[in-house]
Every structure is written in C-alpha cells, then in structure tokens.
C-alpha cells in the first residue's frame, strides 16, 4: 500500500516536471516577445512611420531609416542560403547514400567540428583571407561585401543543413531504395525520385534551420560585410558592402542611452528579426504539415 502510494507520487511528480519543462519553452518565447514589444513599440510613436521606413540609417543625427538594414540582412541571408542548401544537401546525400562506410566515419565528425567552430574565428579568417582574395578575384573596390558575409554564413549554416538532412535521409526505410532499384532505377534516379522526396520534410526542416542560423548570426557578419547602410538595389548589391540588422544591434546597443529613441528603434529592429524568423518557421512547418497530409492520403 505504502509502496503503491510512493510510486503514484513519483509518477505524478515526474510527469509534472516534464510538463513544466515543455511549457517553459512557450513561456520563454512569450516573455521575450512581450519584452521586445514593450521596448520596441514606442519607436513607432517617437519616430514617424515614413522616416522609420526610409533609406538613411545614421542614428547619432536622428536618421532612423531601417530599410537598408532589412535589405542588408535579406541579401546576405539569401546569398548564404544559395550557398548552404546545394552544398549542405549535396554533402548529406553523399554521406548517407553514396560514401563508403570508412568515408562516412571521417566526414560526419568533421562536419560536426565545422559546426562547432566559433563564428568569430570564421570572421577573422574572413577579414584576413577571404575578403582580400574576393577583392582581387572579382576586381571589386573592397572585399568587405555582402558576398563575403554570405560565404561565411553559408559555411556556418552548412553543418546544420548537413547533419539534419543526413538524419532525415537515414530515416528513409531501406525497403524504399530496394524497391526502386529492383524496378530498374539507377542509383541517381533512386536518390532523386525516391529517397530525397521521402525525406523531404526533414530536408526542408534542415534548410529552415540553416536559414535561421544565417539570419541570426552576428559576429562574423559584422566583421566582413563592411556595415555600410546602403539600400540594396538588385543582385549587384551582393558585391557591395551591406549592414545587417543583427550587426546594427550588436554594434550600437552597448552605447545607447537607456530609453532614448535610438534604444527603442534598436528593439524595434529586434521585433522585425523575430517576426522574420517566425514567418520562416511557420511557413516551414505549414509546408511540412501539408506534405505529411498528402503522403497519408496516398498511402491509405
């Protein structure tokens, strides 16, 4: 009787603890969002809407146009995605589907080491090696450009994309591949038409995590993109300096007077960053959800 009671209590306590840990994630996100709103929304009252969305960012003279910063973040992130997705998914396919066993044992830990490199170290390499090389190779005025940021961010995002999509590919049942090969498909056809579509939702999650990693990265970007707040016009902006939202917050938050207009505008930029990553995540899960529904329909 006593033992049964204590078991019951233990069970109760442990489930409660896990439930609290589960809910805490929601609470933390909610609290962060609340804090961002509280500190950032006053910016809308203190700066006119038109000047907030203008093209000049020079906060010490009260120019608070955040469009160049949003544009800078987007162009750097798009560039990074274009680099990280093909290389990341390609590397994952190689590791999971093609590489011999011994090669896989070397590659997987190496990718994880790459993922563990502090971004500030990559930033140093970017300043000292990447940007001078880019300037000479592409004959640019300076190598401190959005492209340098994209290349570094691509490198930072690749390990995430590789390990998550490799897991997804690995989870595809062997019977799928066997069936495709038995029907006479070549190895490439099996990968492209069977394995990759079957792992699609996992690969998509990998891409979204990679994009999230890229848009939130600060230090490496601040060191190599030149931080010039120029409104990007077209794809040529990839070869010019850019200033991202994260770099702006990191560079300016330390010196800003608490409660000033500049302070509120920096938090407003934080809200926009938050919303962008929210949209990216919601879109990703919506796409994944829809595909799962379709798969279930086809299978039933």
């Amino acid at each position: 009787m006593i033992m049964k009671n204590s078991l019951h209590w233990r069970e109760y306590l442990i489930t409660r603890l896990f439930r609290i840990s589960g809910y805490s994630a929601i609470v933390f996100v909610g609290m962060i969002f609340f804090f961002l709103l509280r500190e950032g929304l006053p910016a809308l009252g203190k700066v006119e809407f038109v000047s907030l969305f203008s093209a000049r960012w020079y906060p010490i003279e009260e120019y608070f146009g955040i469009l160049p910063l949003i544009g800078g973040s987007l162009i750097v992130t798009i560039g990074a995605t274009l680099i990280a997705v093909p290389f990341g998914v390609g590397a994952a396919i190689y590791i999971s589907e093609i590489a011999p066993r011994w090669m896989r044992e070397i590659l997987k830990p190496l990718v994880e080491v790459l993922g563990g490199l502090p971004s500030v170290v990559l930033g140093f390499l970017g300043i000292l090696i990447l940007s001078p090389y880019l300037r000479i190779l592409l004959n640019l005025p300076t190598g401190l450009t959005a492209l340098a940021g994209s290349l570094l961010l691509g490198g930072i995002a690749i390990p995430t994309v590789v390990s998550v999509s490799e897991d997804a590919l690995d989870a595809v049942p062997k019977s799928y591949r066997d069936a495709a090969l038995a029907l006479g498909a070549t190895e490439w056809q099996t990968i492209w038409r069977v394995t990759l579509p079957a792992a699609r939702s996992g690969v998509l999650t990998a891409v979204m995590l990679g994009v999230g990693r890229a848009i939130g990265e600060t230090m490496a970007v601040m060191m190599v993109t030149g931080n010039a707040a120029v409104l990007p016009k077209g794809l040529g902006a990839l070869f010019a300096p850019a200033r991202t939202m994260t770099a702006t917050i990191a560079a300016e938050m330390g010196e800003v007077a608490n409660g000033s207009v500049h302070y509120h505008v920096l938090f407003f930029i934080g809200i926009i960053l938050f919303l962008i990553s929210l949209v990216v995540n919601v879109t990703a899960s919506a796409v994944v959800f829809r595909q799962q529904k379709r798969q279930e329909r086809i299978l039933s």
Partner: protein, 291 residues
C-alpha cells in the same frame, strides 16, 4: 582590442595596487581619496595614471570612472567629483551653471589626441586638404584620380557611430568645424567595429582611406599630410606638429577641478604634467603636452 586589453590590464593592476597597501597599512596613515570621472576617450589614460600614482603614493586612492565628458562636467558642477575628465572644452553654459552652483571650474590640458588619415602604402597620394577629405567622406569625390592618384574607386573606412573618434571626425573634418554645416557621411562609408578592422583593410586594399588615433598607426600603412586649407602647408601628424597646433586634426584633452586645486589634488595634477606621467600618454597612443 588593444584598448580593452589595456583597460583589463590596468584594472588588474588597479586591484593589485589596492590590495597591497591595505594589508600593510598602518592604522595611523590617513588615506586621501580623489574622485575622477568623465570622458571615455581619456578613461584608459586616467586609469593608467591612477594606477602608477598609487604605486608611488600608497596613501592616495584614486577612483576613475568613465561615462562621457558631459557626465564628468555635470558631476563637477554638482560637486560630486574632484577632477572631471573631458575630451572637449567646457561650454559657456556649463561654466554659468557651475558659477550658479557655487563652483569654479579650472582647466588643465593634460594630453593631446591627433587623428591620422591613413591609406595603403601603394597609394601615390601623399597630401590632402581638410576640404578634400570632407569631400571624399561625404561622397563628392569618388575616384583617387580626382585628387592626384591612380584611376581607382575610393573606399571610405570609418569607425562605428558610437566611437568618440567618429563624432569628432564628423564635426571637425566632414563639417570643417562649422556649427551650421549638416554634412553627413556618404552612405557607402564602411563602418568598422574596431581599429584593427580599419588597419587590416588599409594594409591590403589600395583603394581604401581611413582615419584613426595616432597611436594606432603602424609602419605598414601610409600617413597623409593634411593642410587646413589650400593655402596652408601640408603637415604630417607628430608630437611636435600636434603640440605646435600646426596639424589640423588634433584636439586637447582636459581635466577640470573645482577652484584652484589644493593639497593632494594639486600634487596629482602636477605629477600628471611630469615627464614620468607624460611617458604613459605616449604609450597609450596620445600626444604628450610636455616633451
């Protein structure tokens, strides 16, 4: 990078300097305290001085805090500090409010700070006028060809907007010291977060132009000689040219006391102008006021 390391070092020395005499102090020795506050430009220098002076005079405690020139002067007006540090001269309205508060600020020039214009060693341009530098940074001149160099685009480098050097450069060079002038940096000016970022780009990019404190200039970059206007001579920054006032992009760094200083404070200020203390000025990349 270098600066924060110095802050860290001086802080360590500061702590160890505080600890040692406390253990060996005799109960009869009375400790005199000097409160020193103000400009962030000067804070490293003031810390280094305080640390050295406390080694020489264990009976004196000097507490140094930053916060900006305005903060320091406001504290002096309110009579909460003994010495205020300022990287600009006290304003007439500040003197008035000090007088109204019964205090009387006395000025000491304790060091000078010069800003060097730097380019890549390969760049053939040797000299520029203030007007030309202003035109470069506000985007009117975009090619080195226009100022006697090669046919190359100009890449403008600057410190971030939160740096005191950035603000000084904006007011004294871009706007040529004119109050009504509202010139801004060209939007494609690269804002780099550290002095090291500027040095690294200058070393390898022949298109670049940058500026930084004289103490950060190294052998592997070229310093431009600057003229106040088209009819003035071109001057290279050095301790002599800064002290004689010939080099145009330099400023005095100040300490202010409440009335003529007496006792410990007077002794400290006198020591600051001594060769020993001015040696520290040169080590930190500023220009000593006395040779």
């Amino acid at each position: 990078m270098k600066q924060s390391f110095i802050v860290f070092l001086s802080f360590v020395f500061f702590l160890s300097g505080c600890g040692a005499p406390a253990r060996s102090s005799e109960p009869s020795a009375s400790i005199e305290t000097i409160e020193n506050k103000g400009s962030d430009t000067i804070v490293n220098l003031a810390l280094a001085w305080a640390e050295r002076y406390q080694e020489l005079h264990p009976e004196v405690r000097i507490s140094v805090t930053g916060g900006g020139s305005g903060t320091g002067i406001a504290a002096l007006i309110n009579n909460t500090v003994d010495i205020a540090n300022a990287s600009r001269q006290i304003k007439p309205e500040e003197i008035e409010s000090a007088k109204a508060n019964g205090s009387d600020p006395v000025e000491f020039v304790i060091a000078r700070d010069a800003i060097a214009i730097i380019v890549n060693l390969e760049n053939p341009v040797d000299e520029l006028t203030l007007q030309q530098i202003s035109d470069i940074y506000c985007g009117k001149i975009n090619n080195w060809r226009d100022i006697g160099g090669e046919d190359r685009p100009i890449v403008r480098l600057s410190r971030e907007t939160n740096s005191g050097t950035h603000v000084y450069f904006l007011e004294e060079v871009l706007r040529l010291g004119e109050k009504e002038n509202k010139t801004l940096f060209s939007t494609d000016t690269l804002l780099l977060p550290s002095s090291e970022g500027i040095s690294a780009e200058i070393r390898q990019n022949p298109n670049a132009i940058g500026y930084d404190g004289l103490g950060y200039v190294t052998e592997d970059m070229k310093v431009i000689a600057v003229a106040r206007d088209a009819s003035s001579p071109f001057i290279l920054p050095s301790a002599e040219s800064v002290n004689s006032g010939a080099y145009p992009i330099a400023r005095d760094l100040y300490m202010y006391t409440n009335g003529e200083p007496l006792g410990t404070i007077a002794a400290y200020l006198e020591w600051i102008l001594s060769p020993d203390a001015q040696q520290i000025v040169a080590e930190l990349g500023f220009v000593p006021v006395t040779p």
